[in-house]
Structures are given as structure tokens and as C-alpha cells.
């Protein structure tokens, strides 16, 4: 694989899942080693970065931590679009959260990119006595859907670092050896031709984008980028 044994990979990672499943706690445990029993609800989304060094590569994670409530669903595509990995989190003490996780998986399969690495994570294993979602059940589901499955506890730190290491490992496998500085974001080409849109009147295109956003959530950024070029 890598000749130099040291690739630099930048990867966008998104956390999805029902509210109160511990997405933010998991990221805080990973990035800062902190845990709060009462973590403030995430409104909109939060962003974190963390660097992980493996033998084969250095991975820089750009982590989008999303708001969990169903109502915030319409904002989610803009966070998972272009992500290299998605972590779908449920709470092992809540069957509802597991059902919600399945919905996320379906949505990602339908709309996400086909190369997306997907993890299914059952959090809060420290609350074993309140468990509602069986380990086997989730594992079975993960297997059927080609997801990597783990159970974690952000509170006790069980499996949290392992989760991110596992993601990092799979990312390095996916990325063919290339010059350093490989980015796993979908970004506009740095140089040269951006795709030109047909020259509609600006106002018309703007209104179109506006309408699209109004009905279908944030529209493709490329259109906007093209608009702003002129």
C-alpha cells in the first residue's frame, strides 16, 4: 500500500441518531476526554476536529455532530453530504432510538454516497440493567446492512476510542496510496474549470435555488458556487 507509510487523510465524519442518544457526549469523550451527565442539547449542529495517528497514516477528522430531534431532519443532508464516514447512534435503553437509527441507515443508503463507511453504534452500555435493544439483534441488523457494529459508553469511555480508530483504519484502507494531503471531502476542484451553468438570468436562477431550498432543504452548493462566480 502506502510507500512512505505516512499518508495524510482528511475525512468528514457525521454523527446521526435520535436525541439524547449521546452523540455529543461521544464526540466530547473522543476529542476532549470529557463527559457530562447533563450535556446541553445540541441545537442545529456542532463541529469538532481531531487528529488520529495510525501506523499507516494520519487521519484528521472533521466531525459534524447533528441535532437529534426528528424536526431537525431537514438540516441533516447538508451535514452528511460528502461525508466519508457516518456514525448512526442509538441508545441501548430505548427501542425507539434503535428504530430511528434504522431510518437513518435507510436514508443514508438511499442518498448518501455509495462509498460511505457506515457504523451502527449502541451507546450507554453502562446502563446494562435498563437495556432494551439486544446486542444480537443490532448485530444481526448491522450484518444484513453491511454496517460496522459496536457498543459503547461515552460515560465510561468503553469502546469510544476504539470506534474512532476503527473508522480511521477503514478510511486508510479505502484511500489508495496517493500523495499526501488527500482530502475525503467533496470540494470544488481547486484549479481550473468549474462547471459553467447555462447563462440564465441571475435573478431567475437565484429564485430557483431559493424555491428548491424552501421545499427540499439546502440545495446543492455547486449551483451556488457557480452563481457566486459571476
Amino acid at each position: 500500500m502506502a510507500r512512505t507509510g505516512n499518508k495524510n487523510i482528511q475525512a468528514k465524519l457525521v454523527l446521526l441518531g435520535d436525541m439524547g442518544t449521546g452523540k455529543t457526549s461521544m464526540v466530547l469523550r473522543f476529542t476532549k476526554g470529557q463527559f457530562f451527565d447533563f450535556q446541553e442539547s445540541t441545537i442545529g449542529a456542532a463541529f469538532f476536529t481531531q487528529v488520529l495517528s495510525l501506523n499507516e497514516a494520519t487521519i484528521k477528522f472533521d466531525i459534524w455532530d447533528t441535532a437529534g430531534q426528528e424536526r431537525y431532519h431537514s438540516l441533516a443532508p447538508m451535514y452528511y453530504r460528502g461525508a466519508a464516514a457516518a456514525v448512526v447512534v442509538y441508545d441501548i435503553t430505548s427501542m425507539d432510538s434503535f428504530e430511528r437509527a434504522k431510518k437513518w441507515v435507510i436514508e443514508l443508503q438511499r442518498q448518501g454516497n455509495p462509498n460511505l463507511i457506515m457504523f451502527l453504534v449502541g451507546n450507554k452500555v453502562d446502563l446494562e440493567e435498563k437495556r432494551k435493544v439486544g446486542n444480537e439483534e443490532a448485530e444481526q441488523y448491522a450484518k444484513e446492512n453491511g454496517l460496522v457494529f459496536l457498543e459503547t459508553s461515552a460515560k465510561t469511555a468503553q469502546n469510544v476510542n476504539e470506534l474512532f480508530y476503527e473508522i480511521a483504519k477503514r478510511l486508510t484502507k479505502k484511500v489508495p496510496s496517493r500523495p499526501t494531503g488527500m482530502k475525503l471531502h467533496r470540494r470544488p476542484q481547486e484549479t481550473g474549470r468549474r462547471r459553467q451553468l447555462p447563462r440564465f438570468p441571475q435573478l431567475f436562477v437565484r429564485m430557483l435555488v431559493y424555491q428548491i431550498e424552501l421545499h427540499c432543504g439546502p440545495s446543492d452548493l455547486k449551483i451556488k458556487a457557480a452563481l457566486n462566480e459571476k
Binding site: 436525541m19 446541553e40 442539547s41 441545537i43 442545529g44 463541529f47 441535532a67 424552501l214 439546502p218
Partner: protein, 399 residues
């Protein structure tokens, strides 16, 4: 703070008053020095503060009796004084007066208690001491998704404030009651994450019932454009405000706008919570209060203006940063940028035709939403749509 003994009231360790800031938040070492209020006050400042409060009292009259008269006679004086900050001891009352929630309360006596009767089975079984006579059918009907969401978020709203810290303490119970009442009152909206911060902020300054009506006044638009679109399915108004904010950034700070485009930064990455919680989430509390003073009197345009002012203040740093650092900076503004006495004057000075266009747009939009959600004839809806398109083109044809 009242102290009631309830069966399942487990008082957590209560921080000693020394660890709290003036507003009741547990102090974090980081901004110990500068919560904007701990600084010692000179006798002169003290006098000035006294004078201010006296003036305000005169303006309000006993229990708010002179307020309307004063506002009608000297609106500019009211505006100027509000922009300087409402004295903390009068804030709760003034907020109710300027938001129109006082009138709602008076027009709807008993409604809040009635909404409170919709207690669910969950709560009744938890609070056996509060026996409420409820129609059993209502009880079943009301164990809604909203309610479970509220319960899950209750201890995660202002977790560092002493009033909301204790599990099942008075703060958490008030918060629950207000949010629950709202979710019953307005089923389309129900409970949405973020509303807890609005309610929490209000509850620090007024009673449950007053806070509830202020929430109604805001979401239903008693005085200004209704906020409910921020919370309805699809968060339509959030999308709209964000795309407008995007354009405003480009209008006011073309260089930064260009940089954002280059780095693929868009406002939903940093500004959605500004609108959803009106800066009450993850901003210094004393700043949030000052923004709320103006917000309740002048409407949502102050949110746009404060947002622009923040970017403007940090402009020269922001234009140099790459994506990751940029996002971080946009979510962690430096202390000095968040000093109300610096930031707010900057915000007031931002003038934009688009901001006022925005207000226009929002008003029109709300009418259309209303029309399209109801069973009006198609032609009406089309007319309304066309009207919106008209407004749109006047908003967007600036370049």
C-alpha cells in the same frame, strides 16, 4: 427560589453562591474575570444606575399602567433606552409589555391552567402528591411524542444554571410545564429542541404563566413577524433566514463572503442556532439578555444585525482562516467580540435595505404559509404566491 418538598425531588449538590455569577450560572474559570458585571462599580456608576431605574419606573407606571401611553408619545425615547439595556430588576415586566404577552394573558384568563390539566400519565404517576382531576381520555390522548422529547431535554437545558440544575427541582418543573403547555396549545409546532432555551431564559425573569404567554406572543407574532416557522416541520423559516443571512454577508462583507464561498462555508454551519434560540444558546448570558431587550421591541432584524456585527468584528481574522479553523472561530467568538457595549452599537449601525426587505418578505411569507395550509381556493393561493414572487424579485434584484 421557592423550596417545595416533592416525593421524587432529589436535591443535587447545590453550589455555594460564590461559585455563581450574577445570573445564577455556575462560573467557569475561563471567563471569571469578564462576565461584564462582576467588575466593581464606582459610586458614580451606582448613582447613574439608580437614576436609570427611576426613569424606567416613571416610564412604565404602576404595574405597566403608563407604558402604552409613553410608547405612543415618545417611541424614540423608548427605543433608545431599550437599546441601552433594560434594568435587570424591571426586565421581566418590560419584556411582557413590549412583546404583547401581557395583553394575551389578560385576554385569555384561565387558559394556561386549563392547558396544565393535560397532564399525562407519566407525570401523574411521578407526582402523586399533585392530584389533579383529569378526564382519563385526555390523559391518554396527551402522552405524545412531544412530551417524551421534553422530558429527555429538560435536564439538558441550561444545565449550568442553578435554577435548572436540580433534578425535578422547581426550575425543571416550570420548564416542563411551560413547554408542555405550549406543545398542547400549538400542536403543529409541539416541542422542538431549542424552545427550551427560550422558555428557560424567560423563566428566569417571570412566572410560568407569563413565560408561556410570551412564548405564544413570539411564535404567533403578537407584535412582530411570527417565529413559528422556525420550528414547524421542515424548519422553513430557518432555511429562509439563513439564505437571507448568506446574502447579507455578501452584501456587507464581500471579501468575507467570497472567502466563505471558497471554503464552502454556509450559514447553516454556524448561524442556525442564532435564529432558533435568538442567541440564548451558547452565548454569554449578559449578552443574550441585551439582545433580547432589543429583539422583543424591534423584532428579528436585530438577530441579523448582531450576526453581521460579530462577523464584522472578527472580519480580518476570519478572512485568513481555512475551513476547519473558520468553523471553529464562527462557533467560538472571542470574549471581546461578545461585549454587549461593543457589539450592540456596531449592530445598530448596520443599515441595510435588505434587512427591511427581509422583514417585508417574512411578513408576506407568513401570510402565504397561512393561506396554503388552509383550505383557501386555489386562485387565492396563486395570488398569494405571485405576491411573494413580487417581493422576492425586489429583494433579490440588487446585483
Amino acid at each position: 427560589m421557592e423550596k417545595k418538598r416533592i416525593d421524587d425531588y432529589e436535591p443535587g449538590p447545590l453550589p455555594s453562591p460564590r461559585q455563581l455569577d450574577r445570573f445564577g450560572f455556575v462560573k467557569q474559570e475561563i471567563h471569571n474575570s469578564q462576565d461584564g458585571l462582576t467588575k466593581g462599580r464606582s459610586a458614580y456608576e451606582f448613582d447613574r444606575e439608580e437614576r436609570r431605574v427611576r426613569n424606567w419606573r416613571k416610564m412604565i407606571g404602576v404595574g405597566g399602567s403608563d407604558w402604552k401611553h409613553y410608547v405612543r408619545r415618545k417611541p424614540h425615547v423608548v427605543k433608545r433606552r431599550i437599546r441601552k439595556g433594560i434594568p435587570d430588576c424591571l426586565r421581566g415586566l418590560v419584556w411582557q409589555l413590549i412583546s404583547g404577552s401581557r395583553d394575551l394573558l389578560l385576554m385569555n384568563p384561565g387558559v394556561y391552567e386549563w392547558l396544565g390539566l393535560f397532564k399525562s400519565a407519566v407525570i401523574l404517576s411521578n407526582h402523586k402528591s399533585q392530584v389533579v382531576e383529569v378526564d382519563p381520555q385526555l390523559v391518554i390522548y396527551e402522552t405524545s411524542a412531544s412530551e417524551l422529547d421534553i422530558i429527555r431535554d429538560i435536564s439538558r437545558t441550561f444545565p449550568s444554571h442553578v435554577f435548572f440544575q436540580q433534578r425535578h427541582g422547581p426550575g425543571q418543573r416550570s420548564l416542563y410545564n411551560v413547554l408542555k403547555a405550549y406543545s398542547v396549545y400549538d400542536r403543529d409546532v409541539g416541542y422542538v429542541q431549542g424552545m427550551g432555551f427560550l422558555a428557560g431564559l424567560l423563566l428566569l425573569y417571570m412566572s410560568e404563566e407569563d413565560a408561556f404567554w410570551l412564548l405564544v406572543a413570539l411564535l404567533k407574532g403578537a407584535v412582530h413577524a411570527p417565529m413559528e416557522g422556525l420550528y414547524q416541520v421542515g424548519l422553513p423559516l430557518v432555511q429562509q433566514y439563513l439564505s437571507l443571512f448568506d446574502r447579507l454577508v455578501k452584501e456587507h462583507m464581500p471579501k468575507l463572503g467570497e472567502h466563505f464561498t471558497q471554503e464552502m462555508i454556509n450559514p447553516s454551519m454556524y448561524a442556525s442556532q442564532w435564529f432558533i434560540t435568538v442567541f440564548s444558546y451558547s452565548f454569554p448570558f449578559h449578552l443574550a439578555l441585551r439582545i433580547w431587550d432589543v429583539f422583543l421591541y424591534e423584532g428579528v432584524k436585530i438577530v441579523f444585525k448582531v450576526g453581521l456585527a460579530l462577523l464584522k468584528y472578527c472580519h480580518d481574522d476570519l478572512v485568513k482562516l481555512p475551513f476547519e479553523k473558520l468553523i471553529h472561530a464562527l462557533r467560538n467568538f472571542p470574549e471581546d467580540a461578545m461585549d454587549p457595549d461593543t457589539l450592540l452599537p456596531m449592530a445598530y449601525s448596520i443599515k441595510s435595505t435588505e434587512v427591511s426587505c427581509a422583514n417585508q418578505l417574512i411578513k408576506t411569507w407568513t401570510r402565504i404559509e397561512f393561506l396554503s395550509s388552509s383550505s383557501y381556493p386555489l386562485e387565492w393561493k396563486r395570488a398569494a404566491m405571485e405576491e411573494r414572487v413580487g417581493v422576492l424579485s425586489s429583494t433579490f434584484s440588487m446585483d
